[in-house]
Amino acid sequence: MPPAGAQRTLDVAIQRKSFRSASGESLDVLKDINFSLEPGEVGAIAGPSGCGKTTLLRIVAGLDTDFTGAVRRPAQGRLGYVFQEPRLLAWRSAADNVRIAAPETDEAGLEALFSALGLAGHADHYPGELSGGLARRVSLARAFAARPDLLVLDEPFVSLDAALAERLRGELAALVARRPVTTLLVTHDIEEAIALADRIILLSPRPARILGELRIDTPRGGRGLALTNKLRADIAQLNAAAGA
């Protein structure tokens, strides 16, 4: 339990983030990105590709500190990060990859996690022996095993086949339901955002601003076609209003 009065929400207030290009001019990537996530809330950042979503995640996770503004992470600040590529240690087995990043995991928990993600039987395999989809699942297992206070996922299901992506989305929803954790997810897939998020944060093309925030109060299990269509219409309207 975090001590009373400790930071519980994730508060992001980025005034400006710019990159210096090779020719020396400064390029704005993010502008006035302000939002908060309640404990246990799942936020999805959606926006066109190349708009700076990954940069935003890196700032939130503390990997990029060169920006104007402030980010306050939940107290104790344990992080789980699923990168776009799996980023596994090729010289350690799948199970060891998880154990090294999350040393407090007990063997029973590890086994349960591996079977939930369809990794049973792959614990002793090296990443080089795993398919791309399996490696991605090990990276998910690692992030969950770390028992994070903040879980960050960067397009975790991109370039997987549709059926597998669907299944892993279900697993992610189940895992978040079992142990609520403040989650920030980046996706360019609106369906995915609608399926997983409590709150969708819609970004504009570069330099990214927030076009709008949509709260979804219906629980993840009960989101029917009608709700999905309504949200899609809302998102299309926000995009149109911005001239995107």
Partner: protein, 246 residues
């Protein structure tokens, strides 16, 4: 394996033929050298001198590799450390082995410490430069992963950095082991009362080619055994995660 043995047999045959033409004073026959090795082994002198040399090789090699890896890692990771230490490394790298040895003996006397220090300083810059290359090539993506999961420094070193540095460490060890034992021989020749280098020095004064070859070959055999029994198994262990038959 058969090809290797055949090649070795050809080398020994060439030696035998050479010995026939050069005469036993300049190039004794293989059998005479083998007999000399046996004689030296029987009265224990061979093991005394081999042991002394091997101990010096082991200590100075371990010191040079340990300090070289630490310094190389630091210099590869920190620009400031690199800028400060690089000129020293360049100077050491270009100072002839003989100069370092002679100066060490003059400054610290004809002592074991001076001998070990001289050999270590000769090998050190080489290890530093190789490991620095390895440190510069460390995967930044994995460092970020380690940062996100708040890995302790030692965990990072053992599980993230060390396996990536393995091939660089192996390369530095390979060239290092052969370099170190050659320099140890010079150190022994110039200022030690035992060891293979000392024996070869006294054999040289007596023009005893048989004894020179006996000691040299005995030590080469020891180094070959180390290569086959220590270095190669270590490399196989370090590479066990690589998919077979790529």
């Amino acid at each position: 394996m058969a090809l290797r043995l055949l090649s070795l047999a050809v080398l020994i045959a060439a030696w035998q033929i050479g010995a026939h033409f050069a005469g036993p004073r300049l190039l004794p026959e293989p059998l005479a050298v083998a007999r000399a090795i046996f004689e030296e082994a029987r009265d224990g002198a061979l093991f005394l001198h081999l042991g002394a040399t091997l101990a010096r090789v082991a200590v100075s090699f371990a010191l040079a590799m340990f300090a070289g890896a630490a310094l190389g890692l630091l210099m590869g990771r920190s620009r400031a450390a690199d800028a400060i230490a690089d000129p020293w490394i360049v100077v050491l790298l270009n100072l002839p082995a003989l100069v370092i040895i002679v100066l060490a003996y003059i400054w610290a006397g004809l002592t074991e410490t001076a001998a070990i220090a001289a050999v270590t300083l000769n090998k050190l810059p080489n290890a530093v430069v190789t490991l620095r290359e390895g440190a510069r090539a460390l995967d930044r993506n994995l460092d970020e992963m380690a940062q996100v999961y708040a890995m302790p420094r030692l965990t990072w070193l053992r599980h993230v950095a060390a396996p990536q540095l393995g091939p660089y460490f192996a390369a530095a060890s390979r060239s290092g082991l052969s370099l170190v034992w050659k320099i140890v021989l010079i150190v022994e020749l110039l200022g030690r009362p035992n060891g293979v280098g000392f024996e070869i020095g006294s054999a040289f004064q007596l023009f005893d080619v048989t004894r020179i070859l006996a000691y040299a070959l005995a030590f080469v055999a020891v180094m070959l055994a180390i290569e086959m029994l220590v270095v190669q198994p270590f490399e196989r262990h370090a590479a066990r995660w690589r998919p077979k038959n790529p």
